[in-house]
């Protein structure tokens, strides 16, 4: 997974290692303070995906929406930590939907920013190498994959995401959708995510979401997707 996304991971792992040596209460308060999620920086400017995604959309999407998920995730983790330290597991369990929503939102957007790139740099075109071969085997052609993704995106009822995923067991590629901010977990490795929430396109495309789903292929970063595929 991405370096930016996981930049809190070493702290979390350190906290986990330390947990055996400290009392439960101390562990909870320490690890949750130290493991705070932060908004990752983008590796391109807000305007760099234009004309396919406007600078205003990118700025709001990153600075406001993603930030809200980061804040919500930290708040959910804090509530769980406090509940855990008091042995109030009912309270801890009640936060699960918030953890899923905000944690998923943080994860999904972190993956999304990195699987996009300016069309003038790594964005657009077609995948190459082992990924290209796998797409050919599992979808028939790159064009079929594109069509399947766009059909999946158009079929989302409400807010959600479509993903190109790799099945860990069979090793095959597939297209899945997730509602709201539900993250891709379990048997699937997320390779490429496309955000179908209205906030991802509405200021530019309004109700014409099919145009957004067409345009976004111009800024897909296949290098990132290929590297996720090769590492999985």
């Amino acid at each position: 997974m991405s370096a930016t996304l996981m930049r809190t991971a070493p702290v979390l792992r350190a906290a986990a290692r330390a947990s055996g040596a400290v009392k439960p209460m101390a562990m909870a308060s320490t690890s949750f303070v130290r493991g705070k999620a932060t908004l990752p920086d983008l590796s391109y400017d807000y305007g760099a995906l234009e004309p396919h995604i406007s600078g205003k959309i990118m700025e709001l999407h990153h600075k406001k929406h993603h930030q809200t998920y980061v804040t919500g995730l930290n708040s959910a983790l804090e509530t769980i930590g406090e509940a855990e330290s008091k042995g109030d597991f009912t309270k801890a369990a009640s936060v699960a939907p918030l953890l899923n929503f905000h944690g998923g939102g943080h994860l999904n957007h972190s993956l999304f920013w990195e699987n996009l790139a300016p069309a003038s740099r790594d964005g657009g075109g077609e995948p190459s190498g082992s990924l290209k071969k796998a797409i050919g085997e599992d979808f028939g052609s790159f064009d079929t994959l594109r069509k399947q993704m766009n059909t999946a995106l158009a079929g989302i009822q409400g807010s959600g995401w479509a993903w190109l995923v790799k099945d860990k067991q069979s090793g095959t590629l597939g297209v899945v959708t997730r509602a709201n901010q539900d993250p891709v977990t379990g048997n699937f490795v997320p390779l490429l995510g496309i955000d179908a929430w209205e906030h991802a396109y509405y200021l530019q495309y309004e109700n014409r979401k099919a145009e957004y789903f067409e345009a976004i292929w111009n800024v897909v970063n296949w290098k990132t997707v290929a590297s996720r595929f090769d590492k999985s």
Partner: protein, 240 residues
């Protein structure tokens, strides 16, 4: 200012006229063709709280898409019934629910909004409902606070509703375009899809929720609460 009786009668007349030539004869099953209802106010009438641009797109594009897709799904469903194709009938359920729900929800929504200078937007226009609200939440303000908090806690797309269930009032949410069709009576609905506010409020949905109270049509809410208005859910032949 706004005569909803006339509006609803207008829908009925228009729909019956349309239906006379629009039934599917080849299937031996008459299916209703739904149409986009006319708004009882102008697109800019809810400004400054909901912009003309939002209202235009929301009604002309979004609501129209639900109507179009509902009619397509229902036609396909009739064909599947006629063909005895149970698999297709089941596969169409999601589309009927989503698009039918979208049509019902928006039809309810337009009528429970009103220009802010109309007397309908004063809570006094709903005396019986207000009494019941105070019985349940203590004060109207406490209800508004609880309703707003519920709206803001919604994850993803959906709606917040004040519903009457039996004799009591409750606040509920429905996801995406799920309609309130489980026996409760929808008294008041607020659309929390991003398309309902984004062009004007961007990510500031709390401001949208705060402002929408200025354009709530309490007279419609009272009629739904008392069951005295024409129920758009029970109106026959696609009159919504």
């Amino acid at each position: 200012m706004v005569n909803f009786g006339n509006v609803l009668q207008g829908y009925l007349a228009a729909t019956q006229q349309m239906l006379s030539g629009d039934q599917l004869n080849n299937t031996k099953m008459a299916i209703t063709t739904y149409t986009l209802p006319t708004l009882p106010y102008a697109y800019d009438a809810l400004e400054p709280y909901i912009s003309r641009e939002i209202m235009t797109l929301h009604h002309e594009k979004h609501h129209q898409a639900y109507v179009t897709n509902l009619n397509a799904a229902l036609q396909a469903h009739v064909a599947a019934v006629t063909a005895g194709d149970i698999a297709s009938q089941i596969a169409l359920q999601a589309s009927i629910k989503f698009n039918g729900g979208g049509h019902i929800n928006h039809s309810l929504f337009w009528l429970n909004l009103s220009p802010s200078d109309a007397p309908e937007t004063k809570p006094d226009a709903a005396p019986s409902l207000q009494t019941e609200i105070e019985k349940t939440w203590g004060t109207l303000d406490a209800f508004k606070k609880a309703f707003s908090a519920t709206l803001l806690a919604l994850q993803g797309s959906g709606w917040g509703w004040l519903v009457k269930e039996g004799a009591s009032l409750r606040i509920i949410t429905t996801k995406d375009q799920d309609p309130v069709v489980g026996g409760e009576i929808p008294v008041l609905g607020v659309d929390m899809w991003e398309h309902a506010y984004y062009l004007q409020y961007l990510n500031g949905k709390a401001a949208y929720v705060e402002n929408i109270w200025n354009v709530i049509n309490w007279k419609t809410a009272e009629e739904r609460f008392l069951g005295t208005g024409e129920s758009i859910l029970e109106a026959p032949n696609g009159s919504i």
